[in-house]
């Protein structure tokens, strides 16, 4: 395979390559130090460019701007140089693989040592399981003799299990434990050439959340990631030594221990709950005695409608578009400054053709009440008869006009004479 070009590396980081291509690239990167170094440089440019583009946010629109595929604002680094020395990581998202730097002798030695550590952990787990099962099956005297060992065993066993999920089920279980296994543990390091990034569970970090894909894509990429995790686990299983029965026994023993511990915790929690409940009831009785007529909880005020909602416009438009809709310049009320212009559905303007929108010029009086001047171009054959309404309704040339709003018909009639 020839050297990788920048475009391919960016496509790789953008998650745009097929799995087969990714595998080829991964194999190449494992042997080509020049491309490995280029990838590191590309990653730096990629991360910084993403940060820079994300730094330009529309003032006042940032909170509402996280649309589909959108990206939350990324704060700019106060000191550019310092930040550049350690650029922020490429946000989680489309890229599916974290490719390795070229292996050093330290990495390689770690790969050799890692399986030995793993075997040692298994031995500890099996030993603990054996002791526990002996303790359960044995006589009273034997149990007394092994109890200190059994009690002291769970701590190291559980901690090693959490730190190094050696079984396939642990690697596949997802969640914090699975992530830890894929990200940090030594067995995972042994598989670094294909290290899938599983989608983060629960609260994602801001950058990851900002780069989040639409739900269907997230499901797809999660499925892909899971498939790769499965593939990884299968490979791991194929490479593993034939110690399944021993491991199964250890797992059973651990499960039993875990169960005992859960029962004890549940009993303690129940006992604590009872006392808390009793205290709570006593407190309630006390409060009821002190304040028999408690004030009702304040009801949250409903959100204020926006000007567009009050004016029933579904889109704002400018003068050009209004003129285009009407086939002539828009009519306005002389001496008043409009708040905005928009399009409203025809059915919201009595007398208008309900199949077409009306151009609505929105004004506001000193009391904050809206005044709406609706205009619609009259089509051949369209009825221009005024509806039974006290609001002014008239035609000017080819335009049907209707003045209405949150003020009385008398004021509206006065305003009609000022429409130009």
């Amino acid at each position: 395979m020839s050297h990788l070009d920048e475009g391919t590396l960016h496509a790789l980081l953008d998650g745009e390559l097929e799995l087969t291509e990714v595998k080829e690239i991964q194999a190449h990167l494992g042997t080509c130090s020049a491309c490995g170094s280029r990838l590191r440089q590309v990653k730096e440019f990629y991360a910084e460019a993403e940060r820079l583009v994300g730094a330009i946010e529309v003032p006042g629109l940032a909170a509402a701007s996280a649309g589909p595929g959108g990206r939350a604002p990324v704060p700019l680094a106060p000191a550019g140089r310092a930040e550049r020395a350690a650029p922020p990581p490429v946000p989680a998202g489309p890229p599916i693989l974290l490719l390795p730097d070229n292996p050093t002798w330290a990495d390689q030695s770690r790969r050799v040592v890692a399986p030995l550590k793993w075997v040692a952990v298994l031995a500890v787990a099996v030993g603990a399981g054996f002791l526990v099962s002996e303790a359960r099956r044995g006589s009273e005297a034997a149990r007394l003799a092994t109890t200190p060992v059994a009690e002291s065993a769970p701590a190291p066993v559980l901690s090693t299990e959490e730190a190094t999920p050696s079984t396939d089920s642990a690697a596949l279980s997802g969640g914090a434990r699975g992530d830890l296994a894929l990200a940090d543990s030594e067995p995972a390091a042994a598989q670094r050439e294909v290290r899938p990034v599983t989608p983060a569970p629960a609260p994602a970090p801001p950058v990851a959340a900002a780069k989040a894909k639409p739900p269907d894509e997230v499901v797809d990429s999660a499925n892909d990631a899971n498939d790769r995790v499965v593939e990884l686990a299968d490979r791991k299983g194929a490479d593993a030594p034939p110690t399944k029965d021993v491991r199964a026994e250890a797992a059973r023993a651990l499960e039993e221990l875990d169960q005992e511990r859960r029962v004890a915790r549940a009993a303690a929690a129940t006992a604590a709950l009872d006392s808390v409940r009793r205290q709570d009831q006593a407190l309630r009785r006390e409060r009821a005695a002190l304040a028999p007529a408690a004030a009702p909880a304040p009801v949250a005020a409903p959100p204020q409608p926006t000007l567009e909602q009050r004016a029933e416009t579904y889109i704002r438009i400018g003068l050009d578009e209004a003129a285009r809709q009407l086939g002539r310049p828009v009519h306005v009320i002389e001496g008043m400054s409009p708040l905005f212009m928009g399009l409203a559905q025809g059915r919201t303007s009595p007398g208008a053709d309900t199949t077409r929108p009306v151009v609505r010029v929105v004004y506001q009086d000193a009391q904050g009440r809206l005044i709406l001047l609706d205009q619609q171009r009259i089509r051949p054959g369209q009825s221009t008869a005024a509806p039974a309404s006290p609001e002014p309704h008239w035609t000017m040339g080819e335009i049907l006009l209707h003045l209405h709003g949150e003020i009385g018909p008398d004021v509206l009639r006065t305003l009609r004479s000022r429409v130009r």
Partner: protein, 166 residues
């Protein structure tokens, strides 16, 4: 139709304004162009709205750059809006020196690179970027690679007080 448009508006308006703001550096202009984009969608409802809306918006930016005479007239009414204080076009950006530097760096990219970068920032995949900008899908990676590298180089040059031609 109107309900669909309202839904489109709600779904894509913020993203369009954000992309146009990054492109023009003028919030009023970005909003105006976004509104004009949707107004065009009223008369010609698109089948595939997202690429359509962004392609129309980018065309409008290009046209608008050449057609400066009517801009003031078109914005006259919107500027009278009460809940929208009339601030200078770059007031918000000028407050943030770094953001201004980023914009200056962005302005030094060529049109296609800049647009590809902005569309990517809105979550477009390579296929959508290719469709919107009329590129071959295979060229998008190279375009983005060049755009990102030049943006970072231009930004660093801005920091040093230099000017880099794209």
């Amino acid at each position: 139709m109107t309900a669909d448009l309202a839904q489109l508006f709600e779904q894509y308006y913020p993203a369009l304004v954000r992309m146009l703001y990054r492109r023009t550096g003028d919030r009023d202009r970005a909003e105006d162009l976004a509104q004009e984009t949707f107004a065009r969608a009223v008369s010609a409802p698109p089948d595939n709205p997202r690429p359509w809306l962004f392609a129309v918006a980018l065309n409008l930016v290009r046209e608008d750059g050449r057609r400066t005479v009517t801009r003031g007239r078109r914005l006259e009414l919107l500027r009278a809006e009460q809940d929208h204080p009339a601030t200078g076009p770059d007031t918000e950006v000028v407050r943030n020196e770094d953001a201004a530097r980023v914009r200056a760096a962005l302005a030094e990219l060529n049109e296609r690179d800049r647009e590809a970068l902005l569309l990517k920032a809105e979550g477009f995949n390579y296929e959508e970027i290719a469709a919107t900008l009329g590129l071959a899908k295979g060229a998008v990676g190279t375009t983005l690679a060049r755009a990102r590298r030049r943006l970072v180089e231009a930004y660093r040059a801005q920091e040093r007080g230099e000017h880099v031609a794209s």
